[in-house]
Amino acid sequence: MSDSSHPPRTDISLSRVFWRVYRRDLTLAMRSVGQWLNTLFFFVIVVSLFPLGIGPGPQTLATIAPGIIWVSALLSMMLSLDSLFAHDFNDGTLEQLVISGQPLSVIVIAKVLAHWSTGGLPLVLLSPLLALVMQMPSSAYGVLVISLAIGTLSLSFIGAIGAALIVSVNQGGVLLSLLVLPLTVPVLIFGSGAVSSSSMGLPISTQISVLAAVLALAVSLAPLAIAAALRVGVSVGR
């Protein structure tokens, strides 16, 4: 019978667990294009509205560009966080993942990385174009991309803690921003700081180091917090 031909659940390699969930989430994201395009459009529209609102003075725009691009990226990431665990919670997949007998933190890392691949990575790739719109000196493009790549990944991990905490709460969107936004402030400050310094020709290694440190902290600790929050979430909500 087919029962006997499959290994027991304790023998599954972590990479299998990881790729299964990662690929699943990417497949789901690719089939609901509107969802992640929404994030991207929001980012593009918010940033490109500033030159219209403030006026096209290159000097002013270039000064505020790092902050604007970074704040918009942060808000776009927040926008997509809501749905990170909500759909899986509602259709029951989440509780099945929790009791699947596989390490939940690995599953969580896969889900967060899938979220970043569809919600964060496109922002990073598109950011030089927006930097152009904002009249930023081209010497700062590289730093912008690097700081956004590190920063948005941290934001995904930090934000996922909040998304996991509110998973069983109806209409938890407001709660989510309240919970998560304060935690994202350091990323915002050092991220936009790095880009500002770089466009003024100053050294940026401090800010990038701090960003990388935040990422290391988030990657190593957030999955545990997210897993714990999800366990509570599925046992409270029905």
Binding site: S2, T10, R16, R24, T27, D91, G92, T93, E95
Partner: protein
């Protein structure tokens, strides 16, 4: 007491309050290898809550759960490695096909498990739906996709919440057959159901919830 048969799941003194409602008071549950336990009761009497409490998916106010003699907190991973829980929510994402859903729910299946899945779905009469989006499936078909896990996964403990909901006669006969087979092979089953469910070859113990004790 059956001395020779292994005690798998044990709950002692489970007390659950929901608001001002006492759902169950000092309830004891014992499940040995080969046991089939049916939880009965009216709507809202806490059948699902009890099932979920047994496997750590619902909080309870007093009592303790043991898996193979170990307290739940320490035995959780061991329990989950041998657990198959089919709940109210099917665990089927509407955006994925049945095959993709099954792969997510059964990580132990290899990536090329298609033939195995087709074989089981064939038995359930829905193998032609394997590549359709799950959103297009009826409730009964979703239930069948879910039930295919009874054959695809290895688990000593089955916790089935209303496994017969939205199934036709043929479907519920299949479920009955699976439960019988599982119990006779030394597995344990806890389930809830509204429909009367009779087994010929195995004995079923029952717990009645909701004041009837």
């Amino acid at each position: 007491m059956s001395e020779s048969v292994e005690l798998l799941l044990e709950a002692k003194g489970i007390t659950i309050w929901r608001g001002d409602n006492l759902l169950m008071d000092e309830l004891d549950v014992q499940l040995h290898a080969g046991d089939v336990l049916q939880i009965q009761g009216t709507n809202g009497c806490g059948k699902t809550t009890l099932l979920r409490a047994l496997i750590g998916l619902a909080e309870f106010d007093e009592g303790e759960v043991f898996w193979c003699g170990q307290p739940f907190a320490r035995a959780r991973d061991g329990l989950y490695a041998e657990l198959l829980y089919l709940g109210h929510k099917p665990g089927i994402s509407p955006g994925l096909t049945p095959l993709e859903n099954i792969k997510t729910l059964c990580p132990e299946l290899p990536d090329d498990c298609r033939a195995d899945v087709v074989q089981v779905l064939d038995e359930l009469g829905i193998s032609d739906r394997i590549d359709l989006p799950s959103a297009a499936l009826s409730a009964g078909q979703k239930r069948r996709i879910n039930l295919s896990r009874l054959q695809l996964q290895q688990a000593r403990l089955w916790v089935l919440d209303e496994p017969l909901t939205s199934l036709d006669a043929q479907g519920s006969a299949w479920v009955r057959e699976q439960i019988t087979k599982h119990a006779s092979q030394g597995g344990a089953v806890v389930f809830t159901t509204h429909q009367p469910l009779s087994f010929d070859d195995i004995s079923v113990s029952t717990i009645e919830l909701g004041g009837a004790e």
